[in-house]
Assembly symmetry: C2
Homo-oligomer: 508 residues x 2
């Protein structure tokens, strides 16, 4: 009797997923667009490893939902058994963003031409609770200027993301870039009596206050008041310790957060008055004024980039201007439910991140585009359009196995004509072969047997036709006009006919 074999179950690790053709093709198009614009602005590519020493990565993730510090880390297997756990090489971690590795690179290669303007597309990994639309592995597209003290670099970050979103098909008004300044915000906190100087320290009173403000859109104005004061119990009963400020202090902070306006100059004027007594606050407002001026010169007004005093950004390392890009267009999902996509871009200035390594202050600023969230939005926006979800354009069915030579010579001719094509390499009848083509989304099938090869004539079956007949897509009726579902074509007209039938399909 055969022993019972223990087989592994085929499954994904929690929070990880596989991505198939259609999503990959749309993402590729999206990334090519983003990359082209990024290069247009003077950024060049960089790639860094998936694994870093944990001491290089630092601890900059917001603490919520992040068991064990929010990263996947493990002991460096190279270390010999006698090594102590406080050895700097002890822990390896999978990168959780692309900014910390960039800081490491700039510190490591001291002779890089500065400003170092690089972009990087890559996956990052976070050990967080997975949820709907929330994965532990996702793509980021980052661009940064290191060694760039000028606020032009900050203004350009915002301008460039506008260009990217519009190139991807988002209309002006469907998105907004919001800008604030951590120094201005710190100035408001100073005026409220919070004078600790290190705003990058998350455990300081300033840090707790910043986190409270950051929760505005989740907990509302009253929730922020509680979090700035004694503390707050949420609906689940969980209690969050407050920053311990009194009413007068909280009012000053609210005055800052309330200084909203459609005019960037007005925001600067309001904030300027509020933080007038704080040196750092005034510095922050001056940064905003410069960004306003540069944005205007570059041609971006407040309908695209507005100043928004409530923006904090979760990451602890920001030291000046911070930005956030939001898709404001409401998108209806497959179930007819309105979905808000929220933030698809975030960034800011982090003048101390390289300093962690070198001890030298290095001005740096940049941002990160949430590729996967943007893709999810685009997939929903695009769902009424027919997609090129399959790369194969023609399936050459095999009817008569004694004519393999003919089929193989034919497929090479079709390929040589620049058409993506395959012969059926599985087992099965013509019916099964056509079903395969249909399920995969291959638009055309070529049918030929001995008679066809002898007569030099082929049958082209238009599978895309059937799919469009069945589908509720915008351009269906125009597309269907005058297309037969099957037609006979002479050998010498085959390539031109295939190209003609594919032309419209490819255009989508």
């Amino acid at each position: 009797m055969a022993e019972k074999i223990k087989r592994p179950k085929a499954r994904n690790y929690k929070g990880f997923r596989d991505t198939f053709s259609e999503d990959i093709l749309l993402r590729r198009k999206m990334i090519e667009t983003i990359r082209e614009i990024c290069e247009r602005y003077g950024f060049s590519p960089l790639e860094t490893p998936a694994l870093e020493y944990v001491d290089s990565l630092g601890k900059f993730l917001p603490e919520e939902h992040t068991p064990e510090g929010g990263i996947f880390s493990f002991k460096n297997p190279d270390l010999s058994s006698g090594t102590r756990e406080d050895h700097p090489d002890w822990w390896l971690g999978m990168r959780y963003d692309l900014t910390a590795p960039l800081a490491r690179v700039v510190a490591q290669y001291q002779d890089l031409p500065k400003p170092f303007r690089r972009y990087q597309l890559g996956q990052v990994w976070r050990y967080e609770k997975p949820g709907p639309g929330r994965f532990r592995e996702f793509y980021q597209f980052d661009f940064d200027s290191v060694g760039a003290a000028s606020m032009i670099a900050d203004a350009e970050s915002c301008a460039m993301v506008c260009d990217m979103l519009e190139a991807l098909g988002f209309a002006r008004g469907d998105y907004i870039i919001q800008v604030n300044d951590r120094k201005a915000l710190q100035g408001a906190l100073e005026c409220a009596g919070l004078t600790e100087s290190d705003i990058t320290d998350e455990n300081s009173q300033v840090g707790v206050a910043l986190r409270a403000i950051d929760k505005l859109d989740r907990v509302g104005r009253d929730g922020v008041t509680e979090l700035l004061g004694k503390g707050r119990k949420d609906t689940s009963g969980d209690y969050t310790e407050g920053a311990g400020l009194d009413t007068k202090q909280i009012d000053i902070i609210h005055a800052y957060l309330d200084a909203r306006s459609d005019s960037r100059t007005e925001v600067c004027d309001s904030l300027g008055k509020l933080v007038a007594d704080s040196k750092i606050g005034c510095e922050g407002v001056e940064e905003l004024r410069q960004i306003d001026s540069h944005l205007t010169d570059l041609g971006y007004s407040a309908d695209r980039v507005r100043f928004e005093p409530t923006v904090v950004r979760g990451l602890g390392y920001y030291t000046g201007p911070v930005f956030e890009g939001i898709i404001t267009k409401e998108i209806v999902d497959e179930k007819g439910k309105k979905r808000s996509f929220g933030s698809i871009f975030g960034g800011g200035r982090y003048d101390t991140l390289v300093q962690r390594f070198t001890g030298q202050k290095t001005p740096a600023t940049g941002g990160s585009v949430g590729v996967d969230r943007l893709l999810a939005a685009m997939l929903l926006l695009d769902k009424k359009k027919a997609h090129n979800s399959c790369t194969t354009e023609v399936l050459i069915t095999i009817m008569d196995k004694s004519r393999l030579t003919d089929y193989l010579q034919l497929v090479q001719k079709v390929r040589a004509a620049g058409i993506n094509s395959e012969v059926f390499v599985g087992n099965g009848s013509i019916g099964k072969q056509l079903q395969y083509a249909d399920r995969r989304g291959i638009p055309l099938a070529l049918i030929a047997g001995s008679d066809e090869f002898s007569n030099g004539e082929y049958q082209i079956k238009d599978l895309e036709l059937g799919r469009r007949l069945a589908a509720d897509i915008e351009d269906r009726d125009e597309w269907l006009k005058g297309r037969p579902s099957q037609q006979s074509v002479k050998a010498d007209e085959l390539m031109s006919k295939l190209k003609e039938l594919l032309a419209d399909y490819r255009a989508k």
Copy 2:
């Protein structure tokens, strides 16, 4: 007194590296070429996660140089403290290839249209001893047909890699694809008296014999004889246990390995005679005969795809045809040393890999292109050509900070004309700005101050000119003809002049 702050040292983890612009751009071009051809042959993209449960990955790496099984693995942090170590979810591992995850995907999504023809570009991680040109993180480009019993799929794998290499600029004769068949090889071992049936078991006598044969190019014919026999001591004194075969048995195996010929038919005929008494051996030779026939139909003769009885391929999961692609052209490196790049492609048929999960035999075949090794070869082959190593084409220098509005409006105009451009966002004199452009490899710099803006005239400085004067590149002299190093251009001719100067640069 300031406390001494402990700063992390900026460093890469051993065997990992950063990749900068020039290599990334060349690799991107290379990958686009490979991908296009892969889609031409009917493969569609797939992406799988970096992390997998280790039981899904299986143990298919060759054992040498692979501490702890050759993969980076760690305990699943999701498991609660009471979980036993034999829980199937206990270990997570970073993928070491793209084939094991593919098998997992096919088993997990049972309703995928078959054959499932997918390609995947991705990084893989191996916990091996790093060395020169040997990294622990590298790219693979895999393509596979799962559910494809036909030898057409195997023949196409080889044909497609020929197309890829020629599209990348390798001339016919500069590379060779070598094919063998594990069943034929097993037949030879059977005829030599080794009758264990599971050739995928690395610890069987057959497994030890296959590993011995696989070392032919490193240890030579006599070394293989020793490894098939009692064992072998290498120059360092390390001893490798042998397969324990006697002289007569070893002679039979050598007869197989010696059956080399420039004619595929001749190889099949010789092997057919040698393994005539083995059923599995005859099956293997029949597979080779079919591949020969399909290759001929597709138009690939033995100058591109030859049969080579010595090819084994290290991975344990192959069950039939195996392939290996080699760059045969000798390449001279920067130091004038001849370098052999060896294998840049490997693959074969693995009919039992999906079965690990499902219990059902699923015919599958495919291959993997070693992107990084191929890139290294191309970098050396290409070194005499001028590269577009920088994506930025024009630096707009800032001479007069009071004219920022003019500079910013100018850079947007240049970008709108489709030219990659940036203003200098760092600090420094015009000299320092030009030095930055030069070091980064930006070909053109635009110089303008108050006078220029008033007169509507700009200075274009051709930095590429200086670089080409200094460089020992093939097309230097033709390129330099009649180019001034600096010229004055009217505002209304600026874009056309920039495009004209960049045209030649871009063509490279």
